[in-house]
């Protein structure tokens, strides 16, 4: 009967996992950075700028990965009505939006020296931009309700609808791009990925994925904490209190202020 009980399973499972994930994130990203910045060859065409790829491609991967994750959470929330699915989707959205924005920014920084322009209406960049809009729509919707749970549910439905739409958008943008884009412009997939580039790329992708899971666990905990706080506040503990309890409540205030001023 109590939904508050279920999340504890999540906490028990993730508690021992968290330090390992955090460690893996640090190691993977550190070695990935070493290879990306020092020990990887230059692209014969792009020179040093190819190093931006080691951020751009993992960020793009994370943007898509997070959206797929949100859609899966949305489907689970629809089928099993498990509150944790809504919470996970909600916790994923800002991470996915950040990575999508990073993908666009690094793409732009890569494009300027290569194409001489900050923005190209390239099919991939444009699709990522639309993905960012989808993220922003989700975040706005989820936060637009007074009842957070209602917001999460509406968001899950939207994530699912958006996920069905993403392939259609991708297809139509590709089609639009081939129609309008002169073929002479260098495409993002221009440089063939050399095996020596694959290692840092794989390390960074794995590192970013681990980073996502670390952040996901933390954000889900945050959300669970906030739910518990709301439940506690709603319980009316502070309504009808005896002197003794009022005293306790005062000590609460005092404690809180002490903590806050640290």
């Amino acid at each position: 009967m109590h939904r508050f009980a279920k999340p504890s399973v999540f906490l028990k499972l993730t508690d021992p996992l968290l330090p390992w994930l955090a460690g893996a994130t640090a190691i993977l990203i550190a070695t990935g950075l070493y290879f990306a910045l020092f020990a990887s060859p230059l692209d014969y065409q792009q020179g040093d700028t190819v190093r931006i790829m080691y951020l751009h491609v993992p960020a793009a991967w994370m943007g898509l990965f997070c959206y797929v994750g949100m859609a899966i959470c949305g489907a689970m929330s629809l089928i099993w009505k498990h509150p944790l699915a809504d919470i996970c989707a909600r916790a994923t959205a800002p991470i996915g939006a950040t990575f999508t924005a990073l993908c666009l920014i690094t793409g732009s920084l890569w494009g300027e020296p290569m194409w001489g322009t900050w923005w190209v209406w390239d099919a991939r960049l444009t699709s990522m931009l639309i993905l960012l809009f989808l993220y922003l729509g989700y975040i706005a919707l989820v936060n637009a309700f007074d009842d957070p749970e209602r917001g999460s549910k509406a968001g899950s439905a939207l994530a699912l609808v958006g996920a069905i739409n993403v392939p259609i958008v991708k297809f139509s943008v590709d089609w639009w791009n081939t129609l309008h884009q002169p073929a002479s412009i260098v495409r993002m997939d221009g440089p063939s990925v050399d095996p020596s580039m694959q290692l840092p790329l794989a390390l960074m992708i794995l590192g970013f994925t681990c980073y996502y899971f670390v952040l996901l666990i933390l954000r889900v905990r945050l959300e669970l904490n906030e739910r518990r706080i709301r439940a506690l506040q709603l319980s009316g503990m502070f309504d009808e209190r005896s002197d003794q309890e009022a005293e306790k409540a005062n000590s609460y205030d005092a404690g809180h202020n002490a903590e806050a001023s640290q």
Partner: protein, 65 residues
């Protein structure tokens, strides 16, 4: 060394993208940790009040706040 930082003349683009990525990722992590800490503090305080409050229904006028 300076050759490494100049990155064949593209240093500002490359270091710029690495810096932005690092800032964004670290900021997201720190913001999450910070609000997690705050929520934990607030929750602990509320739980203390909850535990202090024995289940008894003493009717008293609500304290004006």
């Amino acid at each position: 060394m300076s050759e490494f930082f100049s990155m064949g003349g593209y240093g500002s683009y490359i270091w710029g993208s690495y810096a932005i990525t690092a800032i964004a990722m670290i900021a997201l992590l720190l913001a999450t940790l910070r609000s997690l800490r705050n929520s934990r503090i607030e929750r602990d305080q509320l739980e203390t009040v909850l535990q202090a409050r024995r289940p008894r229904r003493t009717k008293k006028a609500p304290k004006a706040s």
